[in-house]
């Protein structure tokens, strides 16, 4: 049996936008269980952002992504089932919320109204980007998840529809509504 080589992959590959070919390659590797570290470093920021929609803390989002990714990797899913990875993240995140709602209430009572996390979901370069990130936060959940999947995870509408269990038209219209809402929020008064 061929031994997998993880040497030299300890560095995190900086986030960059993937070209279509790259994306196919990354997911191909992901599905064939080769070089999971480099594959994961490519998809991880988008997956984490996707998970952060449901949980406030980055640590919780990482737990969710870890569980989903390992499930995906272990089950040897094909590239055609890419939406399954995002569906898994979503499902685990929703389970996490249900499981932790009691804990969250208890903690909120214990520390009073002092909880405000400052862990940002994005790396800002200027105030415009900060304003844009804040605007994304106030989008309705169903629009935000489509936006996150489309922009930062580069899924097609067909894949988004598959992951969320909605029609492609619904996915596309939610995306357009999200863009329009953001444009309205950021327009100078």
């Amino acid at each position: 049996m061929k031994k997998k080589n993880f040497g030299g992959l300890d560095k995190i590959i900086p986030w960059r936008r993937l070209e279509y070919k790259d994306r196919e390659k990354v997911m191909q590797n992901l599905a064939s269980h080769e070089d999971w570290k480099s594959c994961f470093s490519e998809v991880a920021p988008g997956l984490l952002l996707f998970a952060r929609q449901w949980v406030q803390s980055a640590a919780d989002a990482e737990d969710i992504v870890q569980e989903a990714f390992i499930k995906f990797w272990r089950r040897n899913h094909k590239i055609q089932n890419r939406a399954l990875l995002y569906a898994a993240v979503r499902s685990i995140a929703l389970d996490f919320i249900r499981r932790d709602s009691r804990r969250a209430r208890r903690e909120a009572t214990a520390v009073g109204e002092t909880n405000e996390f400052i862990e940002p979901q994005f790396e800002f370069e200027d105030d415009t980007q900060r304003a844009l990130a804040e605007a994304i936060d106030v989008l309705p959940c169903e629009q935000r998840e489509v936006l996150v999947m489309k922009i930062w995870n580069e899924l097609t509408f067909a894949e988004i529809a598959g992951a969320l269990g909605i029609s492609q038209n619904t996915a596309a219209s939610r995306y357009r509504y999200a863009l329009a809402a953001l444009r309205n929020m950021l327009q100078p008064q």
Binding site: I12, A44, P45, Q66, I70, R74, I118, Q129, I151, L179
Partner: protein, 179 residues
Amino acid sequence: MNDLSEIENELRKLRPARPSPILFERIEEAMMDRRAGASHARQPARLPYNRLSLGFGLAAAAVLVLFAAVNMERRQERGEKIAQNSPAPETRPVLPAPRGESEITRSTFSNEFVPAGATRLVYNTRDEGLQFARGSGQPLRRLRHQTHETWQWRNPTTGASLRVSYPSEEVVLIPVSGQ
């Protein structure tokens, strides 16, 4: 921003936060664990045998339960006494009861449990980052400790012991001051 494509381009420039390096280590660890366990757990050829043995085991247990039930019924029909009183205690106190101390008082004493030990095992600590208390400029570091606590009591008279174990979580906020 007049056009949707313009806002789309702005969004594409926004970079998601990167995952922590610990996440990679954790996933690698989890994958190694599962890979090690997979050789035994995921052998399809063995699965039918496991199911078969489980089935045989359940069937055997069911037969035993049936046999016991039938046997009990027969005994009851014969009028056998099934339940028995527990035998009288064989041990007697070596020392006679002090004057003025009744048996009731002694039995109360014998029911007393005294704390014998407590352990708190912290098996995981997670740093959940910095946060600000509302209305305060001082950052706080949030740490979550996952522990397993065990309390133990002992009855010195009878030698009986009672142990309670439970998992617990503790969130600690530590003020961070910049120098």
